[in-house]
Assembly symmetry: C2
Homo-oligomer: 346 residues x 2
């Protein structure tokens, strides 16, 4: 087996540890955010961590009514002319905590007087030192280059912060049930393994999600690019309608992430029109029979959770698909060509 495989299967335990260890810390950080009446949040992140930031945009937006901006690190590093951030909560998200551009945003924000937080798997990293507060991810060492357990841990860290800000015990209870739900979802591995065979010669695809699962579309696309070298393009179903839909012709593979929730009907009806009007080939990740029925390859989520938690589940069949497709294509899951675990960008 591979590190990638093992780390995918470590996720339930990682998430249990994280929820157990950091609940109180999240509550304390949330109290400071409330006290300062922070009007908006800025998040700096790259790669998979940036997808956790996308999740935060929706979670902190709906649950806590906070506007979230994704930082443009080059304003800090290249242009040396950063925005004024003193009123904001500024969060750096990074597995390694080592990327200089992310550290720059957080350090500069802290100098300006902003409340700063690092969400990182390395509690002793330069990013953790740069920020005033730290939410460590407790994922253990991640040896695979493609992030899996550190990604879902980042999602849970964001969810810990959101639920702590909301001070809502029901939400906290829902979050505590997520490691078991992830464990059940991992039983899909055999189904996904059989399904992956069909995509041996797939060279490109589109991945659609909206709302909370916009992040899932981005993260699954990145896994496919890193591991299988498939040119996978992520879209929100709404953005996709504004032009890119033109690329879809008969047989074009489209992965649709469409669990139940507020955006379900809209995403499902786009999936239906792609299948009926453009004869796209659909791979559907869902807990809903009607959406799954549209798919050539349905990936049925064995557990239903609240929509705000669904990205933590929906990425699981995606990770499994990327993993099995890597093997089907004869590539090495632990050594994608030309990538390193820690990417240093300015």
């Amino acid at each position: 087996m591979s590190f990638l495989h093992d780390e995918i299967f470590e996720q339930p335990q990682v998430l249990r540890t994280l929820i157990e260890a950091e609940g109180e810390n999240a509550t304390e950080i949330a109290a400071l955010v409330r006290e300062r009446r922070v009007p908006y949040v800025v998040i700096a992140a790259r790669g998979s961590s940036d997808h956790a930031a996308l999740y935060a945009k929706y979670l902190l937006g709906t649950m806590n009514h906070l506007s979230v901006a994704l930082a443009t690190p080059s304003l800090f590093t290249m242009y040396q002319s950063p925005p004024q951030l003193k009123d904001a909560l500024v969060i750096g998200i990074s597995q390694s905590g080592e990327s200089p551009d992310i550290i720059s945003v957080v350090s500069r924000a802290r100098e300006q007087g902003a409340l700063t937080l690092a969400i990182t798997n390395e509690a002793g990293s330069p990013l953790a030192q740069a920020a005033e507060h730290v939410l460590p991810c407790h994922a253990g060492v991640e040896r695979s280059i493609a992030a899996t357990k550190t990604y879902t841990a980042q999602l849970v860290a964001v969810a810990l912060l959101g639920t702590a800000l909301a001070e809502d015990e029901t939400l906290r209870g829902e979050l505590q049930a997520i490691p078991d739900a992830v464990e059940k979802t991992l039983t899909l591995s055999e189904v996904v393994q059989r399904a992956a065979e069909r995509y041996r010669y797939m060279e490109q695809c589109v991945v659609l999600g909206r709302g909370y699962n916009y992040a899932t579309a981005y993260e699954l696309s990145l896994k496919l690019k890193e591991l299988t070298y498939v040119v996978a393009e992520p879209y929100s179903s709404a953005d996709f309608m504004h032009g890119p839909i033109a690329i879809i012709e008969r047989g074009f593979p489209v992965i649709v992430i469409v669990p139940h929730g507020a955006v379900y009907d809209e995403v499902k009806s786009l999936a239906r029109s792609l299948q009926e009007e453009r004869q796209a080939e659909l791979i559907v990740i869902s807990d809903q029979d009607e959406a799954l029925a549209l798919a050539k390859t349905p990936l049925w989520l064995p557990v239903s959770v609240e929509e705000w938690l669904s990205p933590i589940l929906c990425i699981i069949p995606g990770q499994l698909f990327a993993h099995h497709l890597t093997l089907v294509k004869g590539f090495d899951p632990d050594h994608p060509r030309g990538l390193h675990k820690v990417t240093i960008t300015q």
Copy 2:
């Protein structure tokens, strides 16, 4: 010829009219923004307009030290749980001013007491009515489905706002010179026409830009998808290093937008490593000989402008390339398959 062709060539005149007509209006809006000491900006937009929003993120960030968040319209329309925006400047950008999701963000923000602005080509549109202030784009009717003149007009509208906020006459003067620079850049059309032939069977490509020209990478990718059905993936050079670079193998086409400026060295060195280490085929849009020398297909900008204005120039060879490649591939530039001029998304 096509509407697309004609509208690409109308751009110098459109931009002249816009700068002439809206300078004073931009100054008045800027005065209100300064008066309210707006700490951050939220922009709602889709498609090409969203790329103008990306430009605004860099321009208002470096020039005016404002944090800019791209809105997540589904928080307003689908989740019915929008963020608190009363302290923000909230801008809706839309060619038609008709997309309900963009209108929702602006109306709701205005109800919350935010300062609201519409940047639209339709001064009588629902979006223009929803916002307290309007910056009309004066592009005239755009009949091609793929946006060209309305996109560069939106960039100039954003630049009018940024320079007005900065109250800097030098910057205003630089902006006034841009329509002539666009006109000179359009002389590239014949060179681009000859170059396009080679890409008759290109099915996928990557488009790289960073900083100000991150927007250009997105906009050029969208033109290629809408018009030529090439699966074109846009990336900032920094994000590209965090995983997606794995897809690049010998001969993979990469379009690099790399004019002189603060990010030039970094983007050029990525281009060099793609060419030397991975044998990618480069199409380079630049005003710098050293960067152009890396390209199989160099697209030389005949005019150099300040980096903050370069996205208005750099998209021109991109538009011309998308236009000519559409013809080379035998598609209809005015009727991309299954697209409509006004896309209605919730």
